[in-house]
């Protein structure tokens, strides 16, 4: 009971806050389902549902009536606090403090029914959400999964409608889906229901037959298994290759940005995720990579005017070298001290490239322009749709190297150092060499990313390399899952890709970042896609047996 009240109060405060900072109102401009429900209302309902679910989950004893009572109570409190906001707002003018506390907001919150009726509606909606959350908690696991994913897909389709519509319309036969699924703003009712049913049916089918298919696959002899796996990989590669043509210009641009962050994230993953060295100045190597590329290739400065490919080896060497250079003075530092020292290094590089002193060589505040595009045999990596391939190749290369390193003597040395530096040293690991190698590898990846960034923009400016980039990359790794390669990709997609897609809500970007980080730490500290435990004791023996059987 006490728990339910507490959770309800937290949820209520969150909803009031979301309303007052204007998020609800901004989100209301987009409908999830046309004329039925907007993104703003969805946001409020999701919070209420989540709090109801938490209250249900924390109910001691778990008698179903108690669960429902608690969840509806917390929902009621959430609704109550929002009603309180409406009542206070109708009596006092809150706009002096909260710019967004406008009549429009109250209209939205009261479903345009006026304060008196609206308050009852709000309380009812809160309690109803609570009850639904409680029922959801009590329902069997399969049903929960199906409901969660299908409803999530409907909401996702609604949120990303601006992106799905043009993508479908690029494809003649698929354009019909547009008509059926979307209106000018939001999903159609039949579209939403159809999507829900489709996803639910797929999930149910998989839950029935999935295990059969999986065991069937495992019972196959190794040769066809390998063929199936290979064809799976081939299909994936094919999809990756045709993606920019399918998605069009805007989405390809988003993909290149996400890809650059994946590259950066994979590099920092070696330093932070594997070796446990919290480096907050990682943007420095990105800048060094970009500027080295610019200096070596740009005819504007006219020093070398190399081509991109001629410059690339020097860029990587420069990155690796600067990684060692930064690593050397901070070898003895651990944890927080290391973070602060590296933070300083990031700023030093930015201020250096900005300085008037180095202007003749690095262009100062005006940056360096006219950086040539990369090209292979006449194919120029000019626009986002072409640069995409360059980045894809970079990501695949870096993933390949990361995987090889992870399962090696060096990867283990890094992870041992992360776990316990003193013991790692006592096990024969040379800390100096191992740390410097981690810094150098990470810096090399980052410099590669910087080189691609420079040719993508054709110019480099000091302000592209501020400390926020470092922070973003660290967030990508934390949210994705420390030390996990798929985690980096998922993290970059979530933290960099989504905000790019939802540009009109850009002002809430940092707010959502902070909220996401806190939520992650509380709910899923291991990250969205945590590093899998490596199975080595039996894995290799099984393979050997399989070989024996087939041979």
């Amino acid at each position: 009971m006490k728990q339910a009240i507490k959770i309800g109060l937290i949820g209520g405060v969150v909803e009031v806050l979301l309303s007052l900072i204007g998020m609800v109102e901004a989100f209301s401009q987009r409908d999830i389902i046309a004329h039925v429900i907007s993104m703003g209302h969805t946001l409020l309902i999701i919070v209420a549902l989540f709090m109801g679910y938490l209250a249900a989950k924390r109910t001691p004893g778990k008698g179903s009536l108690w669960v429902l009572a608690n969840s509806s109570l917390s929902g009621l409190i959430v609704g109550g606090l929002v009603s309180l906001l409406v009542i206070v707002g109708s009596l006092i003018n809150l706009r002096k403090v909260f710019v967004n506390a406008m009549p429009v907001l109250y209209e939205l919150l009261t479903f345009k029914q006026g304060t008196q009726i609206g308050v009852f509606l709000l309380l009812g909606a809160g309690a109803l959400s609570g009850v639904l959350a409680g029922l959801f908690f009590l329902s069997p696991k399969l049903l929960r999964r199906v409901l969660l994913i299908s409803l999530g897909s409907v909401v996702g389709a609604g949120v990303l409608q601006d992106l799905l519509r043009p993508t479908f319309s690029l494809w003649g036969p698929l354009a019909i889906i547009n008509e059926w699924l979307f209106t000018a703003n939001g999903l159609t009712i039949q579209g939403a229901i159809g999507l829900f049913v489709l996803i639910a049916a797929l999930l149910l089918f998989w839950s029935r037959k999935g295990s059969v298919i999986q065991t069937g696959f495992r019972q196959l002899p190794p040769a066809p298994q390998r063929i199936l796996k290979m064809s799976g990989i081939l299909i994936l590669v094919f999809i990756l290759l045709i993606l920019p043509q399918v998605l069009g210009l805007f989405l390809s641009e988003v993909f290149t940005i996400v890809g650059l962050y994946v590259l950066l994230g994979l590099g920092l993953n070696i330093v932070v995720g594997y070796a446990g060295l919290l480096d907050l100045g990682y943007v420095a190597f990105f800048a060094i990579g970009s500027y080295t590329t610019a200096v070596l290739t740009s005819p504007e400065l006219g020093f070398f005017s190399l081509s991109f490919w001629e410059a690339l080896p020097f860029v990587i060497v420069m990155g690796v070298f600067s990684g060692v250079l930064l690593g050397t003075p901070v070898l003895k530092m651990r944890g927080d001290y290391l973070a602060i020292a590296t933070l300083g290094f990031g700023e030093i590089i930015r201020i250096l490239v900005l300085s008037d002193f180095l202007r003749p060589w690095l262009g100062g505040a005006q940056g360096i322009g006219k950086i040539p595009k990369a090209s292979i045999a006449g194919f120029e990596f000019a626009g986002p749709q072409q640069i995409y391939y360059l980045i894809l190749a970079g990501c695949l290369l870096v993933i390949f190297i990361s995987l090889r390193l992870r399962d090696s003597r060096l990867g283990r040395a890094w992870m041992a150092m992360r776990e316990d530096e003193d013991v790692a040293q006592a096990m024969g690991i040379n800390l100096v060499a191992t740390k410097l190698l981690a810094f150098a590898t990470g810096a090399g990846f980052s410099a590669l990313s910087g080189a691609i960034f420079a040719t993508k923009l054709s110019s480099v400016y000091p302000h592209s390399f501020n400390v926020m980039i470092s922070i973003n990359i660290v967030c990508v790794i934390i949210v994705g899952g420390m030390g996990s390669i798929p985690g980096v990709i998922v993290g970059a997609a979530a933290l960099v890709g989504l905000p790019e897609l939802l540009r009109e809500f850009a002002e809430y970007r940092l707010f959502v970042y902070g909220a996401a980080l806190v939520a992650m730490m509380l709910l899923r500290p291991e990250g969205l896609w945590p590093e899998a435990v490596h199975r080595r004791e039996f894995h290799e023996e099984e393979e050997k047996e399989a070989e024996l059987k087939s041979g």
Partner: protein, 263 residues
């Protein structure tokens, strides 16, 4: 033959002399115990041998090589390996990986060899995995290699830590209270295991231990420390009767009954 000898080793922390003028000789293939009350400097002495601390004075010779001033990662390559009083495994690595880290010094693959996955690297990795499996079996952990170290029960963690230490192929193994927190049954198993290490693998064992039953049961030589200094040395029987030892443990004027407890 003497494997490890220390001459006048002294380690101070500020004004406190943790280890003072310590001379110890450890014979090859012996089981040698160091005992003493809490704070007597036993673990500090271990830290001096393994290079974690640098003694202010004195000399540590291992097979006629001086160890003073060398870093731990160099010293382990000479063939000295250790376990810790409060188990210090790599908690988020699997048991296999813990042992593989122990093998680190015997693997040679470099950055490019690893990225290219050269035949030499592959062969080395395969052999390392085989050796790790063999060690798992040796410490009775076969089948638990893919568990995260932190998820293993206490006794398994103790044995895994020894397996990790053995992976570096030591000539001298330093065990810091290997039976701490064990029940009589587990303690007996550990004693048998330590004896087995010496008899089968020919590893010299230096042991810090509080349980008198263990000390008296398996050691050939016992050194007693008090306030960082050696107050007695000899066979278990000699130590048991030594009045200085009894005094260090129980204080002056202890009764006969208390003496019985010590022995």
């Amino acid at each position: 033959m003497v494997l490890l000898s220390t001459k006048k080793v002294t380690k101070r922390f500020g004004g406190l002399v943790a280890v003072g003028d310590l001379d110890i000789e450890i014979r090859e293939k012996s089981i040698h115990s160091i005992i003493g009350p809490n704070g007597a400097g036993k673990t500090t002495f271990f830290n001096c041998i393994t290079g974690f601390y640098k003694p202010e004075e004195g000399e540590i010779l291992f097979n006629d090589h001086s160890l003073v001033g060398l870093l731990p990662d160099r010293i382990v390559r000479f063939g000295i390996s250790r376990t810790y009083q409060n188990i210090r495994l790599f908690p988020n690595l699997t048991a296999m990986e813990n042992i593989l880290v122990g093998l680190h010094g015997h693997l040679h693959a470099g950055f490019f060899g690893i990225v290219m996955s050269t035949p030499a690297t592959r062969k080395e990795e395969k052999e390392a995995a085989e050796e790790a499996r063999r060690l798992l079996k040796f410490v009775n952990l076969a089948g638990k290699g893919d568990f995260l170290a932190k998820n293993l029960p206490y006794g398994d963690q103790r044995r895994l830590e020894i397996a990790r230490a053995l992976a570096s192929r030591p000539k001298l193994l330093l065990l810091d209270e290997p039976t701490a927190g064990m029940n009589p049954r587990e303690t007996q198993d550990m004693m048998d295991f330590i004896q087995h290490l010496r008899d089968e693998l020919g590893i010299t064992i230096l042991l810090i231990e509080h349980q008198m039953r263990v000390v008296m049961g398996i050691s050939e030589i016992v050194t007693v420390l008090d306030y960082g200094e050696k107050i007695a040395e000899g066979t278990p029987t000699e130590i048991q009767g030594n009045p200085k030892v009894i005094e260090a443990y129980l204080g002056r004027g202890s009764t006969g009954e208390e003496r019985q407890i010590v022995s």
